[in-house]
Each structure stands twice: as C-alpha cells, then as structure tokens.
Amino acid sequence: MISYILRRIAYALPILIGVNIITFVLFFVVNTPDDMARMQLGMKRVSEAAIVKWKEDRGYNKPILWNQDAEAIEKITDTIFYQNSVKLFVFDFGRSDSGRDIGYDISQRMWPSLAITVPSLILGLLAYITFGLTLAFFRGSYVDVSGVVLCVIMMSVSGLFYIIGGQYLIGKFLHLVPISGYDTGFNAIKFTILPILIGLIGGIGASTRWYRTIFLEEMGKDYVRTAKAKGLSETRVLYQHVLMNGLIPILTGVVVILPSLFIGSLIVESFFAIPGLGSYTIDAINRQDFAIVRSMVFLGSVLYIIGLILTDISYTLVDPRVRLN
C-alpha cells in the first residue's frame, strides 16, 4: 500500500513540473515582463526608466533561464525561472506585484473559504443523497417524474440567477441574514448562511439527478433482487443495501474535490464579499496582479493532484477489485 502511494506521488511530480512550465511560459515568455510593466504603469505615457524600476522592484529584470553574469550555482538560481517558478515547489510564493506577501495572504484567506465550502459540501451531500434516494424509491411514479422534470429545469437556470435572486429576496423582503460581508470568529456564521444555502440550491438539479441514476443502477443489481427474495422489507433493502453501495461512487467522486475546498468558489465569494481565496483570485485578476494569479494556478493544480491521489487511494480502500499496480 505504502509503495503504491509513493508511486502515485512520484507520478504526480512530472505533472506538477508540467503545470509549472506552462504557467511560466504563459506569464514570462508569451508576454515579457516589459509588457506587464507597461500594462501596470499605463500604456502610452510611460518612461523607460519607470519600466526598469518596476521590473527591478519585483525581480523581473533578471534573465529568464540562464544568468551569464552570475557565479557558479547562481547562474541558475539568479533567474526569473528559478526565483519565481521553481520556488513555488516549496510553497514559497514570494511577493505580489503590489508588494504583499502572498504566502501570508493565502494562509489568512483560506479560512473564510473553508467556512463556506466545507458546510456546503456536507449539507449538499446530505440533501442530494436524500433527494436522489427519494426519487429512486418512488421510481416511475408522479413523484419521480415531476422530480426529474424539476431537476432538469433547475439545471438549466444559470447559477448567477440563484445568487442574484437569493440576495434580492433576502435583502428586500426577509432581512433574516446579511446579504454580503464577513466578520471574525463566530460572528461570521450569519454571513455564511446565505452563500451556503444558495450554493445548495444551485447544485440540486444536476446532483440529485446524478445520484438518482446511481441509486437506480444499484437497485437493478442482482444482490438487491436476492435481498428482496429473502423477504427483506423495501426500506431495509433501500437503506442497508442500495444506499451503502450507492455511496461508494458518490463518496469517491467527492474525494477529488476535497483538497480544492481551500480555494473556495470564485463566484460565490466575490458576490457575497467573503474575504477568501476565491475573491483574492478575482481581485488579482481584476487588478492584473500576475504574481498572485500565477501562485493560485500552481496552488490549485497541487490541490487537484492531491485530490487525484486521494481518489486512487480511496478506490483501493473501498473496492478490493481495484488492483494496486
């Protein structure tokens, strides 16, 4: 088992290097630091000296891959590639283009993100599994048909509609919870309710339909027929056999997104003004702060790859048929 995990991690390394190279090429080769400086400082009326200074402040004035003028090992280390891309591997994100420490910002901002995404995931799973199981239980009846129709309709509505509609409803008529913002400590809870709820509603359509299919597939299997033939009650079959076996694909599907919960949701966070990593990224995109976007791209990939590895491990744990090679 341990050797399997190690092998999976070793396999992930080249992927990370690939991601690193792609982001490096995107940010430093396709567009040179000169372009970035001009973009940041204003397009036309910018002096050459200002560009040089901007690059120098951020260490973008070094050679890209190979520093001819430096000594020994510094030939490689004193370059943009080493300073800005290789260091990401040890999670040294450096400073943003506006001079803040990215690593510190990330460690601060991941908590609000988690405060939204973790409850959303747990409550979402509970709700969708319940709905999916209910529809599967009533398969073929009016409950099922109207439920599926409702799911298709809800799937077709833009996610932005749920957010805007929800904020409007709460803000105009109900005044139960604040419509956006954030606070420290336990005061934050009342700010998280609305985003979590809206995230839940937005996901109902697709997830419920998906889970319903999974449960129906399980219901068609032989062991269910055997269980019924033995005389087990319908509910017992449903909860003990169908639900438990149906949970395997659902939970292993969830594992892959677990690490990415740190990143948060870009859209939800920016709509509800939650100071998490999602809104951090959006702000960086709008300010055109390349250093932050680059760090977030790398961080996101790392988390996704961790998710992939966890998925593989969880498969081998729950399903003995998956071989370890």
Binding site: V19, I22, S156, V157, T213, I267, N286, R294, Y304
Partner: protein, 466 residues
C-alpha cells in the same frame, strides 16, 4: 460590402460540416437508426424546434457587412465604416429607436424623473414621455392596457393564421409522402403515429410563431423588454446575444474536436509511450483549475491587444478575436474529458476481430484508425458535443461576470447580467435586463438539455436514464 470575421467563417464551416454529416448519416444505418429514435420523441423534437429558432437568429447575425450608405455619381458607392449583420437589418427599428436611459418594459414614460419644459414656458419635475415607446398614444395612462391587449390579439391572430398555413402545408407534404388524404394524415399526426413526432413539432412551431408575431407587433410601438442604461432596447440586446452564446457553445467544441479525437484514438490504439505522453498531457492540463487558466490567458490576451492596438481595424474585430480566443481556451480546458472517453473506448475496440483482421491484412495504422475506429467512436463524440453545449452557454455568463469572458463591448447575456447587477440596489429595481438575459439563456439551455438527453438515450442505451 461583406465582412467575414474569423468566427463567422468557422460558423459556416460548422454548418457545412453538419450538412455533410447529415448526408453521411442518412446513408449509414447505425447512425440513422438512433436519430430516428430521437425524432420519435416529442420532447426532443420540441427542443429541436426551439434550438433551430435560436440557430436561425445566430446565423442571421453571422452575416456581417458594411452597409451601403449612398451611391454617388462621382465616387461610386460609399460604404459605412460600421459593421452590421443581417439581423441588424431585420431589427433596424429596435436598433435605431434608442431612448435616453432606462425605461421599464412596455412603458410610455421614462424610468427616472426629469425636468420637463411645459408649453407655457415653465418647468415641471416629472416622468417625461419616451421618444419611441408608446409614442403613438395620446393619453398613455388610460390607453396603454387597451392598446397592448389589442396588439397582442393582432399578433395572436396573425401568428395563428401563419402557423395554420404552415401546418397545413406540412401535412399536405406528409400526405404526399405517405399517400393518404389530408384528414387521414392530420389524424395520424395528432396521434403521433408517424415516424417523426410531428404533433410536437407543429405545436412548438405554432407557439414560437405566435410568440414572434406578438413580440414583433408590440416591438413596433413599445420597448417590449424595456431599455438599458444608454437607452438601448433590451430585446435587441438579448437577440444579438444569441450569436455569442451559440458561438461559445459550438465553436469551443469544434476547436477542440480534432485534438480530442486524434489524441484519444492514438493513445488507445498505439498504447505504450504514446499513450503515456498523451495521458501526461491531459492530466497536466486538467490539473490547472479551468477558471484560472482562462483568467490567465485572457489577461495575457489583453496585454497582447493593448500592445498591438494598431493591428485591429475595428472594435468588432477585436471583440471577435477575443471571442475566438475564449473558445480556444475553453476548448483547451474541456477536451480532456472527451479524450479520456475516446481512449478508453479505443482500448476496447482495438482488440475486436475486425481490427485484428485489418492489422493481419497489413492495413496501415492510419487507415485503421480512420476507417475502423473513428466511425465506431462517433457516438461518443456526438453525445459529448450535445452534452457540453449547455454547460458552455452557462459558463459564458459566469466568465463575463468576472470580466474574463467576452469583450465588454460585445452583446452577450453575461455582459447584460453584469451590467444590470449594479442596478439591483435602485428603487424601484431595474429588473428587465436581468430577466431578459436569464429567460433567453434558460430557454436555450433547457432546450439543449432536453435534446441532449434524448440524443444520449438514443445513442447509448446503456446510459439510459431509467
């Protein structure tokens, strides 16, 4: 003088490919049978009619040209510098009749109070009349409701007549085909006893025609969906946005399709190190969060555009380049799923007897892939094209909201939502831009979802939704 944008060219390439595919599919039983299955489903056919109406609008909006200003004796014909499309010509009234600022749907008065000059020289603070909306009414307070009802009724009658005419023409044509008289054929149509579910088609077509007639009749005298901040008709914007939505939904797939098919087939067929390389490639691309990759690329495109501002002759061209670029980036982030499916299927297929036989006969690898493997994975390609479509249309709105979508100057539902979002705090609320964008998007995506469900069920019975 025609102007052809890159996306226009690609759209017509796509139309050409679809037509070619239809001819191909008609001659091959394994493709014809599932499509017949789709055609027998009433819901799928209704969805198909709605989709085709959108596509017609989108295609009309893809024929761009410089409109002719005037022909003079001396210098020949003068062309305007601005670029219009066929749709602009059809909706010329809607485009030209701009108000000063916001106005509510079907309103005759402006949305905000202004100082109005009275005939006696004094000024009065109140809601001014609109320049075009309800301009024909003498006394809007009392006449509006009656006038609107009258025009809706006119549209209703006109629409019903047109759809009756079209329905009878279709039934006569069907009667010729099945060699039965008019009554017999219409009975069969109603009972859905024919090969194609004509009752659903005719009913949906009638509803669409009646809606269009009513909207057309009203839009001559009112702003049916109100006007936006700069006084532009919202209905016009929503109709213009159709093209953007369709381009994102279809061109993205078109752009990524060659890569996905080629890579998927090669990985599955050759296995070994080619498989490893391709798997590495798509895992790497997949592991970069999609939104961030798009954001990074759009940022870079902005840098490129602002550094090469002189290369673009017009704003439209620049917006078009950005749209194409967005399609390409979305394609890069979304081809991996299809590639993985194709690889898995090819791995299975390469062990099948006829492929082994072809190899034994010494058929080249390339021809085996083209002649024996590709036709047998086509159903996967088709399912994924239709399934991806609705997700891409919805993604456009979200991306435009974070400012990494289409160019802000382009008409798109995302931009409409983005623009209207800032007005949510106003009292009374400016809801019509939002509502229009959401409704247009909802109808398109719902139709696409229903249609893709039917296509998937027909082509892949194993995946059938119970």
């Amino acid at each position: 003088m025609p102007v052809i944008f890159i996306t226009d060219a690609l759209i017509f390439l796509l139309v050409f490919m679809v037509i070619a595919f239809v001819f191909y599919a008609r001659r091959h039983e394994h493709l014809r049978a599932p499509w017949h299955e789709v055609a027998r489903r009433p819901l799928a056919m209704s969805a198909a009619i709605v989709l085709s109406v959108y596509i017609i609008f989108g295609l009309l909006d893809s024929l761009h040209f410089h409109p002719k200003l005037e022909a003079t004796e001396t210098s020949g014909t003068i062309y305007s510098t601005e670029i219009s499309s066929m749709l602009d010509i059809l909706l010329d009234d809607l485009r030209q009749n701009t108000e000063r600022t916001y106005s509510a749907p079907l309103a005759s008065y402006a949305f905000a109070k202004e100082m109005i000059d009275q005939p006696n020289g004094k000024q009065l603070r109140g809601y001014p009349r609109l320049k075009y909306g309800g301009a024909h009414l003498g006394n809007p307070e009392s006449e509006t409701v009656g006038d609107i009802t009258k025009r809706i009724l006119q549209g209703l009658i006109c629409g019903l007549l047109i759809s009756l005419l079209i329905s009878s023409l279709i039934i006569i044509a069907l009667g010729k085909k099945y060699q039965s008289d008019f009554r017999e054929t219409s009975k069969k149509c109603l009972r859905n006893e024919l090969d194609v579910s004509w009752n659903a088609i005719l009913v949906t077509l009638s509803i669409v025609i009646v809606t269009i007639c009513c909207l057309y009749n009203l839009s001559q005298y009112y702003h049916v969906l109100g006007t936006d901040k700069v006084g532009q008709d919202v209905l016009y914007q929503a109709l213009k946005s159709i093209r953007t939505g369709l381009v994102i939904g279809t061109l993205t797939t078109l752009v990524m399709l060659p890569f996905a098919i080629m890579m998927g087939l090669m990985a599955g067929y050759f296995r070994g190190w080619i498989d490893d390389v391709i798997q590495y490639l798509y895992t790497t691309l997949n592991s970069i969060p999609g939104v961030l990759l798009i954001a990074a690329s759009i940022l870079l495109l902005q840098v490129y555009i602002s550094n090469h501002a002189d290369d673009f002759t017009s704003l439209e061209q620049r917006a078009d380049l950005r749209l194409l670029f967005l399609c390409i980036i979305l394609g890069i982030t979304s081809w991996t799923g299809l590639c993985r499916l194709l690889r898995a299927e090819t791995l299975k297929l390469r062990e099948v007897d006829y492929v082994q036989a072809a190899q034994a006969f010494g058929v080249g690898n390339f021809s085996i892939m083209l002649r024996h493997l590709l036709p047998n994975v086509m159903h996967i390609v088709m399912i994924s094209i239709v399934l991806d479509f609705s997700g891409l249309v919805l993604a456009e709105a979200v991306l435009s909201y974070i400012n990494i979508g289409v160019d802000p100057s382009m008409n798109s539902w995302g931009n409409m939502i983005n623009g209207a979002r800032l007005e949510m705090a106003r009292e009374p609320i400016v809801w019509w831009s939002l509502a229009a964008a959401f409704i247009f998007m909802f109808v398109l995506v719902l139709a696409a979802n229903l249609f893709s469900d039917a296509v998937r069920d027909a082509f892949d019975p194993r995946l059938r939704q119970f």
